[in-house]
Symmetry: C2
Subunit: 338 residues, 2 copies
Amino acid sequence: MSKAPRTVTSFDVARVAQVSQSAVSRAFTKGASVSEETREKVLSAARLLGYRPNAHARSLITKKSRIIGLVLSYLENLFYPIAIQRLSERLQRDGYHVLLFFCPQASADEVVDEILQYHVDGIVLASVTLSSTLARRCADASIPVVMFNRVHSVTDRQEASSVTSDNYAGCAEVAKLLVDAGHERIAFIAGQEESSTSRERERGFREELARLNSRIWSRGVGNYDFTQARVAARDMFSRPERPDAVFVASDHMAFAVMDTIRFELKLRIPEDVSVVGFDDVPQASWLSYNLTTVRQPLDEMVEHTVQILQSALRDDDELRRETIVVPALLVQRASVRR
Amino acid sequence: MSKAPRTVTSFDVARVAQVSQSAVSRAFTKGASVSEETREKVLSAARLLGYRPNAHARSLITKKSRIIGLVLSYLENLFYPIAIQRLSERLQRDGYHVLLFFCPQASADEVVDEILQYHVDGIVLASVTLSSTLARRCADASIPVVMFNRVHSVTDRQEASSVTSDNYAGCAEVAKLLVDAGHERIAFIAGQEESSTSRERERGFREELARLNSRIWSRGVGNYDFTQARVAARDMFSRPERPDAVFVASDHMAFAVMDTIRFELKLRIPEDVSVVGFDDVPQASWLSYNLTTVRQPLDEMVEHTVQILQSALRDDDELRRETIVVPALLVQRASVRR
DNA sequence: TTGAAAGCGCTAACAG
DNA sequence: CTGTTAGCGCTTTCAA
């Protein structure tokens, strides 16, 4: 019964408000020069007709879409969902919105191809690597790219900005803590071997241990995956001699390790084994885990990400590449023996 | 040093390929009538220039943005992140993408106003209510709306489609389970009182208990929040007479309840108290919790959501409203006494 | 199958 | 401050 629902355009509003289309445009552009009177006329006509400016038409001419592409691969680790929420809310405050792109780890290539079609104003790569060809394409299109919680691989050097926490220093702290507590058979369970986070975390841990005349006594790989971490722990702890402490490259894997240690191997934490994680996701403070971990300051990381993006959008003449490293904080709870 | 990075347009490609702009357009539109020869010429020119069609220009004329707006409020409960991922991946397969909108619970209104500007092809409301005025505006713009994991409030009746699991039946199962296990002081901890999920879950639970000559012996409210659930549990279990079983309206709250019961009140699960949750998020199967719960079949729910959206996009003549309820499944683990 | 031409809804000069 | 005009990059009639 309803009429064909043709969209209401600025043209329609202009007619009803008895002004020009430009006036309508200006009424919806803050900072434009319109008299209060005209603006009122326009706004009430718009309200009457249910008019909202068409974002696509607008971005076609302004060449700004107010959309940020966010590339993700995996949400089971709560660190990312929470990062998404913070980032999205922060961007929304400034009139930007987040367009989601999922892709399997480390293969952002095809997907960024799709992103480019939307002419996004910026791209945030959360835990996916940016290939160098891709980085170049973004650079050509002068789209700022921020790697969130990951740094460049050698080949991508300086093709994109990056925001991380100080993985190296944070993990050095962990080494200190564990050695101070008198641990001698210290194990490490890595995330994805190719990932910069896992590598940096391992390096900080290993080098500080060396400085303290200790070392990684046993090593496993969990690929940032719950099940694989469980397998790694089972493996590591069922040998004749087992570690008396284990540092796990992410909280999410640490939970798997703790469960395995307690319920499969019937060992106590921290009496028999100390466990440390990384990220400080909400579950780390849940009493079942009460996990000593390294906090990544999410809000700061998000704020830096947004700042980089916005400064790049402001002075689009020269695309500056920044590398931000925010301090990480050791949070002591009850999973390490004192 | 680099030239001004003017975007490459179909015009440029046309010139290089020595064809018309229309030919370029057709080469990128599958099912269009182009000779293989022309298509090749266009595609190679496009590759050469690094051309991708501009999605905004395209949607301006086709009136299809291939964007779905997703409205969310809270990601700490893993149910939602995982739903986002599944939905986004599924949509991506069909060439759609998800634009994110965060808003505080139950106030989707302002935010949908923003959504409308993007002329999204559809809207998914995950756990937020749609006001009736808003529903009408979407209907006027003939944008299909799906409420995910929530049904209409009375006023919104039939203004949008909805996809949920069978909260009522699932919770009736829980009642049966608890009564069968011989529990007599059965408690319930609600989510948000206004939410349809919490209400349906409580109703299913309560009515089945009545049928079995039992009742809700004690009741608390957690508002789907971890901390509030903890407070509710503390309250409920520190009275002189405490429940011997508690059904919690979401897994996420159930974890808080379990931690409180075990570590604050020093009670055993399930020997002293049985606990049941709802959702079956990944953590429910973690050994620390090993939680008996009701599974919401996420993949099915996502599939239905996408189907509704797509059928609405196909025959845009008449916007049909659907109400899908998929069966929920009781998953027995170790948190209920046998 | 192909090209010419028109126009989606908007903003940005440029006059006035 | 306001209106006129041109055109963003694309698809789509319509003829050929």
